[in-house]
C-alpha cells in the first residue's frame, strides 16, 4: 500500500468535521424522518402521540451524531471528511427546509 492510500491522521480537521458537519447531518437525517417517517409531522396526531414522537426524534440525534463522530476518522483526509459530511449536511438540511416550506 503506498503512502497516499493510507489514512492520514488529520485529527483536528476530521474532528471538527465530525462535530459540526456531523451535527447538522444528524439533525437533517432526523428532520427528514420527522417529516416523512411514520407518525410524521404532516399527519393528524394527538398531543400525546406528538409528545412521544418529538422525544423520540430528539433522542435519535445523539446516536447518529456519535456514530458519525466515531467513524469520521475512516476518511482518508480531513478534506474528504469535510467534503462528504459537509455536502451530506447541506443536502439533508436543504431537504428539511424544502419539506418545511412545501408540506
Amino acid at each position: 500500500m503506498s503512502k497516499t492510500d493510507k489514512i492520514q491522521p488529520h485529527w483536528w480537521s476530521k474532528t471538527l468535521a465530525g462535530v459540526f458537519a456531523g451535527f447538522f447531518l444528524a439533525l437533517g437525517l432526523v428532520g427528514i424522518f420527522a417529516w416523512l417517517g411514520p407518525t410524521g409531522l404532516t399527519e393528524q396526531i394527538t398531543p400525546e402521540q406528538r409528545s412521544w414522537k418529538t422525544q423520540f426524534n430528539m433522542w435519535m440525534i445523539a446516536p447518529l451524531w456519535c456514530l458519525i463522530l466515531s467513524f469520521v476518522y475512516m476518511f482518508k483526509t480531513g478534506k474528504q471528511a469535510w467534503l462528504y459530511l459537509g455536502s451530506g449536511a447541506v443536502l439533508s438540511i436543504a431537504i428539511v427546509y424544502a419539506l418545511r416550506s412545501y408540506l
Binding site: 432526523v30 402521540q49 412521544w52 456519535c66 476518522y73
Partner: protein, 539 residues
C-alpha cells in the same frame, strides 16, 4: 477478522487519547453512579429512625389530606401522599422544591396521632444520596451553567469521548478478539493481566456502556437537540396540541378520594402498585396529579418508578410512561422509556439494581485499568527515571480515584455525627467531601502515586470501617444520639461499606507488593527506605 493496519493504528491512537482525557471524569461518574442504585436505602440509613413520621392506616390518608389542604396553603401548590411504610404519609415542600439542585430544601411532614389529630414537622432534607447523585452527574465539578451544573456539560462532552473510545476500542480489538477474549493471562505479567481484564469487562458490558454514553449525551445536551429540532419542525408544534384548553374552575370539595385516583391509575396500568400520589396546583385551572407506580416486571422510565399523569378532578389520564392499549405511546414512547429505564437500571427490582451496581463498578474499573495500561505502555522499560508526564498521570489517576472514594467514605463515616449539630448537613457533606478529595489529590502529588497509594488505601479502609464502628457506638451508648441500622436496607448499606473495605484490603496487599517488591523500573516501585532514595536524587 482482518482490518487494515492504518485503520488499526488510527483507532488505537483514538482510543488512547479519548480514554485518557475522559477516563477519570467517567470514573467518578460511574463509581458514584453505582452507589445511586441504592439511594433510597442510603437516605434511610443517613436519617434517624424518627425522621419520617409514622405511616397512617390505609383509610386515613384522605382524612389527613383534607386537614393538610385546609390548614396549609403551601400544600395546595404541591403535596405528596405516600403509601410506603418507610416514609411519612404526607409531605410537601416548605422551602425549595423537588426540582433542581438545592441544599437548603425543607419539607413538611404530616401524620395523624392516635387521637386522630394532625401532627406536622418541618424538616431539613438530609439527602446523602443527593451528594452521591451530584457527584454522579457532575463528577464534582463546581459551578452552574444555565439551569444546570457546569459539571453536567463537562460529563456530556466526556460522554462523546467515551462513545468514541468504545467504538475505537472495539475496532482495534477486533482482530484479536476471538483469540483472546476470555484469556486472562496472569503469568505474562501484571500489564497483560490488566489489559486482558480491561478488554473482557469492556466487551462483556459493551451494550450497557453504549446506552450509558448515549443517554448521558442526551441528558446533558437535550436543550441543544430540542433547539435544533424546533428549527426542523418549523411551524409545527413540538409538544401539546394548540387546541383550546377548556377553562374549568375546580372546587376543592369535588376532589375525588385518593382511592378513586389510585383505582383510576391501576385501571390504566394493571399489575402495578401505587407508591405515592402527588397533587399539584389544586386551586388553579390546570390541576394535575402524578401517580408514582412501581412494578418489578417491566422497564420503568424513572429511576424508581413509572408515572401516570392525570387530572385529579376528572381522573382523565393525560399521559403515562406505561404503555397501555388505550394510551398512545406506541413504539416511540416505548423506545424513549427504554432509554431512560436502561440508564437508571429501573427494571427487575432489586436484582436489576444489583446488576447495575456491579456494572457501574465494572465501568469504574474499566477507566482505572485503562489509565494503568496507558502508564505501563509509556514507561521506559530500562531505567529507574520515568518521564514527568508518566508521573503526572500516575499521580492524577491515584489522586482522583482514591480521592473520590475517600471523600465519599469520609462523608458516610461522619454523616451520623454531623446530624447531631444544628447546621445544614448538606453543606457539611460538601465540605467534607471536597476537603478529603482535594487533600487526597495534593497528597498524591506530594508523596507520589506509588507511596501514596498505600497510605490512601489505608485511609479508605479506616473510613469505611468507621461506619460499622459508629453503629456499635450507637448501640452501646445510645445517649450520644447517633443511631444504628434499624432496617434490612440500613444493614445492607453497612455491609456494602464493609465490602468496600475488604476489597480495598485485598488491593492493599497487591499494591504493597507492587511498591516494595515490584519491578524496579516500574513507576510504582519505591524502595522501602525512602530517604536514601531522595538524597541520591538530590545529589
Amino acid at each position: 477478522m482482518k482490518i487494515r493496519s492504518d485503520i488499526l493504528r488510527t483507532y488505537q491512537s483514538l482510543h488512547t487519547w479519548t480514554g485518557i482525557t475522559a477516563g477519570l471524569l467517567l470514573f467518578i461518574g460511574f463509581f458514584a453512579g453505582a452507589l445511586t442504585m441504592f439511594s433510597s436505602a442510603i437516605n434511610d440509613w443517613a436519617t434517624p429512625p424518627e425522621y419520617q413520621l409514622p405511616q397512617v392506616k390505609t383509610d386515613e390518608h384522605d382524612v389527613l389530606l383534607q386537614q393538610v389542604l385546609s390548614s396549609s396553603p403551601e400544600a395546595l401548590k404541591g403535596v405528596t401522599v405516600s403509601f410506603e411504610e418507610s416514609s411519612s404519609p404526607i409531605s410537601w415542600y416548605g422551602h425549595g422544591s423537588a426540582r433542581g439542585f438545592s441544599m437548603d430544601d425543607q419539607v413538611w411532614h404530616a401524620t395523624l396521632n392516635e387521637q386522630g389529630d394532625m401532627i406536622t414537622e418541618l424538616r431539613h432534607v438530609n439527602e446523602l444520596s443527593m451528594l452521591v447523585d451530584y457527584l454522579h452527574r457532575s463528577a464534582g465539578i463546581m459551578g452552574e451553567l444555565g439551569h444546570d451544573q457546569a459539571g453536567v456539560y463537562v460529563l456530556g462532552i466526556a460522554a462523546f469521548l467515551y462513545f468514541i473510545a468504545l467504538v475505537s476500542g472495539v475496532v482495534f480489538l477486533l482482530p484479536s478478539l476471538v483469540k483472546s477474549f476470555f484469556a486472562l493471562r496472569k503469568e505474562k505479567g501484571a500489564n497483560r493481566f490488566w489489559l486482558d481484564s480491561h478488554n473482557l469487562v469492556g466487551i462483556a458490558s459493551l451494550p450497557f456502556h453504549i446506552i450509558i454514553a448515549v443517554t448521558v449525551i442526551v441528558f446533558s445536551f437535550h436543550d441543544l437537540f430540542y433547539g435544533g429540532l424546533s428549527q426542523v419542525y418549523g411551524d409545527k408544534p413540538m409538544f401539546g396540541g394548540g387546541e383550546a384548553h377548556e377553562e374549568v374552575k375546580y372546587e376543592l370539595k369535588d376532589l375525588p378520594s385518593l382511592n378513586q385516583i389510585k383505582q383510576a391509575a391501576l385501571i390504566y396500568a394493571p399489575g402495578y402498585e401505587v407508591k405515592s400520589i402527588s397533587l399539584s396546583r389544586l386551586k388553579s385551572e390546570h390541576p394535575s396529579t402524578t401517580v408514582m407506580i412501581i412494578s418489578d416486571r417491566t422497564l420503568m422510565r424513572g429511576p424508581h418508578n413509572d408515572y401516570v399523569f392525570m387530572n385529579p378532578f376528572t381522573l382523565e389520564v393525560d399521559s403515562s410512561s406505561v404503555t397501555n392499549e388505550t394510551g398512545q405511546q406506541g413504539i416511540w414512547g416505548a423506545v424513549v422509556t427504554s432509554f431512560f429505564g436502561l440508564h437508571f437500571g429501573s427494571y427487575g427490582g432489586e436484582l436489576g439494581r444489583w446488576l447495575y451496581f456491579v456494572m457501574g463498578l465494572g465501568g469504574a474499573f474499566l477507566f482505572y485499568s485503562g489509565n494503568l495500561i496507558w502508564l505501563e505502555k509509556r514507561r521506559k522499560k530500562q531505567t529507574l527515571e520515568q518521564s514527568r508526564s508518566s508521573h503526572f498521570m500516575a499521580n492524577l489517576t491515584i489522586g482522583v480515584t482514591l480521592g473520590c472514594a475517600i471523600g465519599l467514605a469520609g462523608v458516610f463515616a461522619s454523616s451520623k455525627w454531623l446530624s447531631l449539630a444544628d447546621w445544614n448537613i448538606n453543606i457539611a457533606y460538601m465540605w467534607i467531601y471536597y476537603t478529603l478529595f482535594l487533600g487526597t489529590m495534593a497528597s498524591a502529588f506530594i508523596l507520589g502515586a506509588a507511596r501514596f497509594s498505600i497510605l490512601g488505601l489505608k485511609l479508605f479502609i479506616v473510613l469505611c470501617l468507621a461506619v460499622p464502628l459508629n453503629s456499635l457506638i450507637a448501640i452501646v451508648l445510645p445517649s450520644i444520639g447517633i443511631w444504628g441500622p434499624d432496617s434490612l436496607a440500613d444493614l445492607g448499606v453497612e455491609l456494602g461499606i464493609v465490602g468496600f473495605a475488604m476489597a480495598a484490603l485485598f488491593a492493599l496487599k497487591h499494591v504493597k507488593n507492587r511498591v516494595y517488591q515490584g519491578e524496579e523500573n516500574s513507576i510504582w516501585y519505591c524502595p522501602t527506605v525512602s530517604k536514601n532514595q531522595k538524597a541520591v536524587r538530590l545529589v
